[in-house]
Assembly symmetry: C2
Homo-oligomer: 436 residues x 2
């Protein structure tokens, strides 16, 4: 089957683990089958491959996530890069063109579009496979997954099927209701709309050509920033009559808030942390090197990262966003395709960073206009190129680079270095890239 995973914006609702360049789907918080922690995107990717080893997985996302995706899933995953955010209809249209024009998938094949962040068991992807099979039959233009509600939630839209059959025609859609109204819907057999649907590629291609003037993938990509922001629901789903829904009764959790995220965690403590016996329903997710000690707490989530520390009642944690918006802080930690970096110290005229390069990787060859830099290699081996001069480096070596000086470093083994930036105007934007 073909699967498109929609990997949405950064979001701050899981601060301090998510930030402007690091999204919740990349946080390694779930214990995988091999005992290693994996992220939402890794977990979902592995689950799809388990359900169908032949599955073609394409991630529709912005360019800011490309590094993290390759870092976590390797180089073979397909990525449909949105040049900018333009809501779900343009994103799904672009991903559909990508599959047909770039990946050369036959336009009569079906594709299933899923969000990247639900927390589900393997049976969910068996259901996704069935959705794809149902779309192949062509009895409807869209086949949706309808999730059996476990409570009358106000957080989801509802799908009203015409019958309680495993596959049924959709009678209507309902916006997020109040709890009372949700109860009524559920009595009538309504299902949650989890944003999962299958269609034949040609169907969405045709819709895209109806609404957008473009020739092929490259053309659509090049004019992407001119497209109108419009949701797939509004542009396609609500106007379509031939829609079916397939019931899914397995576990399904939307991991958008700390409250639901911690429910899905297998353990109470990820990272260094201790809960005393007087704690109940307390979760710690700690990315710092020092311990968190929690005593006498109930229904609390604690999360610490280089960006900050959250201590919240679990229910309250859904209201985090406006507070985090006010912090306006620098990103203190980021994963890149080549490794990661962590800001360790910020002064008015300097910034000190720890850089880890994965073996075989390098930075871009670049220079800065307004800052000098000093590298102190603390572990590993590699090669630096400074203004064209290549030099072997190992732990203990010091490299000084004045403003304007072109530089990069190649990691032959995993290589760690302390980078001290010096200057009065240190910004991420002050970077000129060069070909080597």
């Amino acid at each position: 089957m073909n699967v498109v995973l929609l990997s949405g914006g950064s979001g701050k609702r899981l601060w301090p683990l998510s930030n402007d360049i690091r999204s919740k789907q990349f946080i390694k918080i779930f214990k995988g089958d091999n005992g290693e922690y994996e992220s939402m995107v890794q977990r979902v990717y592995h689950q799809i491959k388990k359900a169908d080893p032949e599955a073609t997985v394409t991630i529709a996302t912005s360019k800011t996530q490309v590094s993290a995706i390759h870092n976590q899933l390797g180089e073979n995953v397909g990525i449909s890069v949105e040049p900018c955010r333009r809501d779900t209809f343009p994103a799904i249209a672009l991903a559909t063109c990508y599959l047909v024009d770039v990946m050369k998938v036959d336009e009569n094949e079906s594709v299933v579009v899923c969000p990247v962040d639900p927390y589900v068991e393997d049976d969910y992807f068996a259901a996704v496979k069935k959705l794809s099979d149902q779309a192949d039959k062509g009895t409807a233009n869209l086949v949706l997954m309808g999730i059996e509600p476990t409570y009358p939630s106000e957080k989801y839209g509802y799908i009203m099927p015409e019958s309680k059959d495993a596959t049924a025609k959709v009678s209507s859609f309902k916006e997020k209701p109040t709890t009372e109204i949700a109860k009524g819907y559920i009595e009538q057999g309504a299902l949650w709309n989890g944003g999962v649907f299958a269609y034949k590629l040609k169907y969405v291609l045709d819709k895209a050509h109806e609404l957008i003037d473009f020739t092929d993938y490259d053309d659509l990509f090049s004019k992407y920033d001119t497209l109108t922001k419009i949701s797939f629901d509004y542009a396609v789903v609500e106007k379509e009559d031939k829609i079916e829904v397939q019931r899914f009764a397995g576990q399904w959790k939307d991991l958008g808030t700390w409250n639901t995220l911690t429910e899905a965690m297998g353990e109470n403590v990820v990272g260094k942390g201790v809960l005393n016996d007087e704690c109940s329903n307390v979760h710690i997710v700690n990315e710092m090197d020092v311990p968190v000690l929690a005593m006498g707490l109930k229904d609390v989530v604690i999360s610490a990262s280089p960006d900050g520390i959250l201590v919240s009642d679990k229910e309250q944690s859904s209201y985090i966003k406006p507070y985090v918006d006010k912090f306006e802080q620098q990103v203190m930690f980021a994963e890149k395709s080549w490794g990661d970096y962590k800001v360790m110290d910020v002064e008015s005229g300097s910034m000190t960073i720890k850089v880890t390069l994965n073996a075989g990787h390098s930075m871009n060859y670049h220079s800065h206009n307004n800052r000098d830099e000093v590298w102190v290699v603390i572990s590993g081996e590699g090669r630096t190129i400074v203004d064209g001069m290549e030099q072997k480096v190992k732990a203990g070596d010091v490299i000084t680079m004045s403003a304007g000086c072109k530089h990069t470093v190649f990691a032959d083994t995993e290589l760690k270095l302390i980078e001290v930036q010096l200057g009065e105007a240190i910004t991420a934007q002050d970077k000129v890239k060069y070909e080597l």
Copy 2:
């Protein structure tokens, strides 16, 4: 008046702000009259000087605290350094000899001994002054402060006076009782024993010579490590018949736990932190550069430092010690007489530290046997001496020092540097000091 402040051991009950080399009395947590934060020891010192500008203040402490005391109180405060910990009788005997032999105070003068860590208002030191005046009269050998109990506490010893007069003879002492028994004591007019007492210097000098074979301060100092560990209460107070007590009815808080410490804080947040409206009775003490966000919590203290993060129900916070004992962690932050240092990164073969030197100060001239070091100056100006060679340094300069190389740095202005230590066996003990 003469005051001896007993500045006790480090203690972990205020972890993560106190650690093996940084004691609670040095944490800057109280807003002073000038709006700047001050520590317990600074607050108490200023209060004594306010009650009596002529007061001679001597701090009895271990050598590990000498740097921090000079750093916070300047160079003029008297310090009676205990070469090692030998309980309160040897400590008070040594401080008494220090006053007579080093500070040349007449042995017929009185001295008041106080703990350094009570949180009190100015009236407390007016009462301390009265205690000293009462001791001057010589109607008793020891004059104690008796604190009017505000509740039947199990945490304090009790003093039973013979009458309810402002000054009364002591009838007996009672060990820490149960709440029920404490109620009975209070009905009989009992007072809390806050560990504050006055005596004429000669009285304790004579007691010291009775119990210890020594000639003068220098002799006592040199044989201090051979002395028996014994408390002043046991060696002197319990055996003395001529004891008076003076009542004190003002505010008095023992700041030994987070619970009592936060009660004494004027504000709910010290450092970067935000409490949402659903928080009640929550305190944040944050020494990190990144924010703490607290949501929907009740009766909780949150403290973050480079050593770790505590999140505790306030009542529970008194049980912190055994948990912290298990952490066995490296000290990540310390204040020194010359400035401070903060550990920023620890790897198996390296450690990265940020060092701040106060203007006019320097490190010891020293070398390391088993590690190389690199300094990157990030702000300020000064001079390094490396193997005898002096060199001016400023922001951006890099100094590399191999193992065995002697080095120091003088700060002409406040000087900050990043120090990268490199080697397989990095320990604080690997340090050889030299004269310059």
